[in-house]
């Protein structure tokens, strides 16, 4: 591995920020350094109005092999709990909480916490030969980084538990069928297809999309009555945005809207 290569690559094109996990020799396994940088990059993106869509990708053959297990001391039980709270929980909270669209571009294997990361993104595009592997039980652990929550909202319980218990790989076609992938594309097209979707989402009314995400997060844990009330609140906020004025004006003038994300 080239020691001079940053473990996390960031590239912004227009309003799309791509974060690429870049430890290809380790299949982008997550060590402390990579997790810290990912967390910092997500925090920065969260507060940057110039970023209107985020892409999470992996360099090389894999998306992410999950937790890097070459980390000695941190395998002590009490340290594992702290590690989860200090890094994975914060990363998952940001991916779920950041009020802009986030796409995982899954090239190759997304295993363990790598699968969890992909699941915590809003959308997943998989290369046709990629796979999702909830491998935690293979080494006697439980799915973390939000995976139990993500999967509880994506899959029926029986299927979720089967996948968690067996740790069996879910290849791209099955992932698509189960709704774990939004799209499956030819491996060679993954980058361009993701970029095209990201660019189109970045041109949409970012605040309204962000408020949609907030309301959907909220609805996952609310009653109908609470959800309806929350929709009224978030709609009130959306209606105060310049993009709503533009959307209505464009609709009336029968032209394409030019949203600015505010």
């Amino acid at each position: 591995m080239d020691e001079n290569q940053p473990v996390l690559l960031t590239e912004q094109i227009g309003a799309v920020l791509t974060l690429t996990l870049n430890r290809p020799a380790r299949f982008n396994a997550l060590d402390d350094d990579l997790k810290d940088r990912l967390l910092a990059a997500l925090q920065a993106a969260s507060g940057d109005p110039g970023v209107r869509c985020l892409v999470l990708a992996g360099a090389g053959k894999a998306f992410c092999a999950g937790q890097d297990l070459n980390f000695g001391d941190d395998l002590r039980p009490e340290r594992v709990g702290d590690t989860v709270r200090r890094s994975y929980n914060k990363i998952a909270r940001l991916l779920y909480g950041m009020e802009k669209p986030i796409i995982a571009a899954v090239n190759g294997v997304a295993a363990g916490a790598g699968m969890s990361l992909a699941l915590a993104c809003d959308l997943r595009i998989l290369g046709e030969h990629s796979s999702l592997r909830l491998a935690f039980s293979n080494i006697g652990l439980i799915p973390d980084c939000g995976a139990t929550y993500s999967l509880a909202h994506l899959l029926p319980r029986g299927l979720l538990l089967e996948i968690a218990y067996t740790g069996r790989p879910i290849e791209a076609p099955e992932a698509l069928r189960l709704g774990l992938a939004n799209r499956v594309v030819a491996d060679a097209d993954l980058t361009s297809e993701t970029a095209a979707l990201a660019a189109s989402l970045a041109a949409r009314p970012t605040r309204a999309l962000g408020l949609t995400k907030r309301a959907v997060n909220r609805a996952a844990n609310s009653t109908l009555e609470e959800t309806l009330e929350y929709e009224a609140y978030t709609q009130e906020i959306a209606a105060g945005m310049a993009d709503f004025q533009e959307g209505v004006a464009a609709f009336r003038a029968k032209r394409q809207p030019r949203f600015e994300g505010r």
């Binding site: 907030r214 609140y233 978030t234 009130e236 105060g240």
Partner: protein
């Protein structure tokens, strides 16, 4: 209001007022001067018959992050005692109109105690409530041990006060510390809507109802019910009771005069 305040901003609205804590650079840390101004402003508003409710707020980042530690670090016990350090806080209790705390961001230490001195608390989703004094080798001193325990019960109050760990707005809602949690963009608007709604009610009924509810916190049930009943009877000496009931029977909106 004629008072030239340095640490707060007072804005009169239709029927209510918004009082904003305004030391944003220090996350609205509560020094003696700020509390003094706040009490004076609230007493003046309370005496103004056109103001029937007050919203106390900070900014999006902080309602109030605590006492001014710089002011307190070198303090001594006996001067504290002789100067009746927290006496100004007791004057909140004498405000007749309802006080609504509109809380976003930090409501810690004195900030949490200030919110609990209000009658209702509306919070943004980003609000956090806590009594972190223990981390500085002290404890709550402006009513926190009493009001938090009343609000959330003994074991939750113990955890918050003994560990110093704050709770989120959602946790505070579940614990019964606050009335509602709304998106950060709307917390002040929500509090103002509540203030406007209360301001439209019969003022004497609001005042006696508030007094009666507060009585429940430190009276026996028997004394409290007795107090409530006398207040209830008292309202029948006023014009607003007659107007309210007449309007109800006539199927129209009442128009209360505060008499």
């Amino acid at each position: 209001m004629a008072e030239p305040f340095q640490h707060i901003l007072v804005e009169a609205k239709a029927g209510y007022a918004v009082v904003r804590l305004n030391r944003p650079k220090v996350l609205n840390a509560l020094n003696g001067a700020l509390i003094g101004e706040l009490v004076i402003a609230l007493e003046a508003l309370d005496a103004d018959p056109t103001c029937r409710c007050a919203v106390i707020t900070g900014n999006e980042r902080a309602f109030a992050a605590g006492a001014d530690i710089g002011e307190m670090a070198e303090a001594e016990a006996i001067p504290f005692l002789l100067n009746a350090q927290f006496a100004k806080w007791d004057r909140f209790r004498a405000i007749h109109m309802p006080l609504i705390a509109a809380v976003s961001g930090f409501a810690l230490g004195g900030g949490c105690e200030l919110a609990m001195n209000c009658d209702l608390i509306i919070a943004s989703e980003t609000a956090q409530f806590g009594q972190p004094e223990i981390n500085l080798g002290i404890m709550p001193g402006a009513g926190g041990t009493q009001r938090l325990t009343h609000a959330v019960g003994k074991v939750r109050a113990m955890e918050m006060i003994l560990t110093g760990a704050p709770i989120t707005a959602q946790e505070a809602l579940r614990a019964g510390l606050i009335n509602r949690v709304v998106p950060v963009e709307l917390y002040l608007r929500e509090a103002e809507a509540m203030a406007a709604r209360i301001a439209a009610q019969a003022p004497v009924a609001v005042r006696l109802a508030k007094e009666s509810v507060l009585k429940a916190l430190d009276a026996s049930i028997a004394d409290g019910v007795d107090f409530e009943r006398k207040n209830f009877f008292l309202l029948f000496a006023g014009e607003d009771q007659k107007e309210g009931m007449r309007a109800f029977l006539d199927k129209r909106q009442p128009h209360f005069e505060g008499r």
